[in-house]
């Protein structure tokens, strides 16, 4: 049950994180600001930076967790195989 739950929760939360980070413009459409950052309006540069480095960072996290969950699924599969063998014996 553990790896399955992790897989589902990882996919839901990671998808939400990606959608929010990639669509930061929606946030500034709801909460407008005239503040400036690095010489640009915040509402312009923050979505661009998040859409590049934010997404890049999330892909690293998603890759690591995805590989980890695959390994856990494999381990659960193996333990299943062992218990079957025991039953068979």
């Amino acid at each position: 049950m553990r790896a399955y739950k992790k897989e589902v929760q990882f996919t839901i939360w990671m998808t939400l994180a990606f959608v929010l980070v990639g669509n930061a413009g929606l946030f500034f459409a709801m909460f407008p600001t005239d503040a400036m950052m690095f010489g640009f309006p915040v509402k312009y540069i923050v979505p661009i930076l998040l859409g590049w480095f934010g997404v890049f960072f999330l892909t690293i996290v998603a890759g690591k967790i995805g590989n980890h969950i695959d390994d856990e699924i494999d381990r659960e599969n193996e333990s299943l195989g062992h218990s079957d063998e025991i039953k068979g014996a």
């Binding site: 959608v19 997404v55 998603a62």
Partner: protein
């Protein structure tokens, strides 16, 4: 700076550069293709492409002529909102990979429709394949328009001649190349595109007085005060939060249904490699996307402060025009070669998807006894025919090349993405739900688009309706609702039980998630399905309420 006919004054130079680029692609394609003997080799390059090559190829397939020419044109027209719309397109490969790419890779799928056939049966897969062919052709159409414009500027020939000459050369290359050639070529093309976009942009930025020219994608803030002075509205959001929200179903979910993108995940040698490719993709695409926003910014800056005059009809040529005005001719020739590379890699992805859809997903499904040799030939014929159709459609092009491409995203989001997402994560989804979702959702999306019944639209704002933003906000949730509700009801109708394949569906889902056993608690959440229906209903109702554009 009021060029009536923007073109290279020395076409020989342009032709030499483009010819050399093509020669390189043909050689790589030929060498790779010698190894491509089977159908699997043709479409997924044997499934053993490395992470960096694949990441570059993913970015290259995705970074189409829209990125090279289309974005800057719409930034000129819509300013900052279009940049904000474009940013989330980087999510495509990461979301495909985490939501269903690895599952379909585990299954050994050729294409998303291959999964739909195994999951929902032949009829549903043919419906999905037909819609996907329409998606791929609309996507290819935008590339063809861009290729025609590029050849028009390169040779000073009329649009139509450019379309036929450029279109046929490129379709010929793709038909010969196959996916193995395409993957290696796409990786090379990505490097060429990045260099031929960013380096000339640095020179343009320097010419218009920008001091951050040494890193153009992000360092142009010193031009902001002058921009705000001559065009104070550039950074304005212009539209309501509803417009920005509509980007999610139309483009973020839409990208999940694009057949040629998902196919890139299946070319990975293993799941770990597919995930590494996603990281490379995000880094490279972020770099190039940011450079295109800078190019659009500089284009608007030049028109607002430097007296550059670009007519509405020439908007799609902005990137080339900026190079013609501010850079030496040989640089513009390199940019044109880069633009053609961009069109080439995406078009090859589109046409290979059409080839796979027609030969594998339709003909081979209807006639399973067809020989592998015949199937391969049919694939080549379909690739060539798909190219011809997109050339014919481009004879009378829409105002902006990027509009047809973005509309295709929405159609994929309505007819394909829900079937795959729900199909991978919910055992109850069945063929009746899938067919209802694809057919009804697809028809709604097409009806409310301005292309069929111009008077039946949701907003009346031409670009918003044309890009499918408004249509997708309605049709994508409707598609999810139909898929879930119809599946749930038909699963409980005793008269339909003999027509459903519950047990094999359950086994398939467990297997593609990596499980060797079957457990009833997995991928079976009624609560999750109910929440999706409630959220989708609220969004669909919201889409029908006034947009106040």
């Amino acid at each position: 700076m009021n060029g009536e006919g923007w073109q290279l004054s020395n076409p020989i130079l342009g032709l030499a550069v483009v010819g050399a680029t093509f020669l390189l692609f043909y050689i790589v394609g030929y060498i790779s293709n010698r190894k491509s003997a089977s159908v699997q080799d043709l479409y997924v390059g044997g499934g053993n492409v490395g992470a960096l090559t694949n990441g570059l190829a993913m970015a290259s397939t995705y970074m189409s002529l829209a990125t090279f020419l289309g974005i800057t044109a719409l930034i000129l027209n819509l300013q900052a909102p279009f940049i904000l719309l474009w940013i989330q397109l980087i999510l495509a490969i990461p979301l495909i990979t985490i939501i269903y790419g690895t599952s379909l890779r585990r299954m050994g799928a050729f294409s998303p429709t291959h999964f739909i056939r195994n999951r929902y049966g032949v009829k549903a897969s043919i419906i999905a394949a037909l819609f996907m062919i329409l998606v791929s052709i609309m996507y290819a159409l935008g590339q063809m328009i861009g290729i025609a414009i590029t050849f028009e500027t390169l040779l000073g020939i009329p649009y139509l001649t450019g379309l036929i000459v450029g279109g046929l050369i490129i379709v010929g290359y793709i038909t010969i190349g196959g996916m193995a050639g395409a993957t290696n070529n796409a990786a090379i093309q990505m490097v060429i595109m990045a260099l031929m976009f960013i380096v000339p942009l640095a020179a343009i930025m320097k010419a218009v007085g920008g001091s951050g020219w040494y890193f153009p994608p992000l360092l142009y803030s010193d031009m902001v005060p002058a921009m705000l002075e001559s065009m104070p509205t550039f950074f304005d959001y212009q539209f309501s939060p509803k417009w920005y929200f509509a980007i999610i179903p139309a483009l973020t979910i839409g990208a999940l249904g694009l057949p040629h993108l998902a196919m890139r995940v299946y070319t990975a040698s293993n799941l770990k490699s597919a995930r590494s490719a996603m990281v490379w993709f995000a880094f490279i695409l972020g770099l190039v996307f940011s450079a295109t926003y800078a190019m659009g910014f500089v284009g608007v800056f030049a028109t607002a402060t430097q007296g550059l005059n670009v007519s509405a009809a020439d908007a799609d040529k902005l990137t080339i025009i900026l190079n013609l005005v501010y850079n030496p001719e040989w640089v513009t020739a390199l940019v044109i070669a880069g633009a053609i590379s961009a069109g080439l890699s995406t078009l090859s992805g589109n046409l290979l998807a059409i080839g796979a859809l027609l030969s594998q997903d339709i003909v081979a499904t209807l006639k399973p006894n067809i020989s592998p040799k015949m199937s391969l030939r049919l694939g080549y014929a379909a690739i060539f025919l798909g190219g011809l159709v997109s050339i014919l459609l481009a004879i009378e092009p829409p105002a902006f090349l990027v509009v047809s491409i973005l509309w295709a995203f929405g159609l994929a989001g309505v007819t394909n993405a829900p079937l795959i997402i729900v199909g991978v994560w919910w055992k109850e989804a069945n063929k009746f739900g899938a067919m209802a979702a694809a057919v009804v959702g697809g028809l709604i999306y097409i009806i409310v688009s301005p292309f069929v019944f111009p008077s039946i639209v949701l907003t009346g704002h031409a670009v918003t309706d044309g890009m499918g933003l408004s249509g997708a906000l309605l049709a994508v949730p409707v598609s999810f609702i139909l898929l879930i509700v119809v599946s749930y009801i038909t699963n409980r109708m005793p008269s339909l039980q003999s027509k459903l394949s519950r047990q094999s569906d359950i086994e398939l889902i467990e297997r593609i998630h990596g499980w060797k056993d079957i457990q009833s608690y997995r991928y079976n959440s009624t609560a999750g399905a109910a929440i999706t229906v409630v959220i989708s209903t609220v969004i669909a109702i919201w889409a029908l309420m006034p947009w106040n554009m």
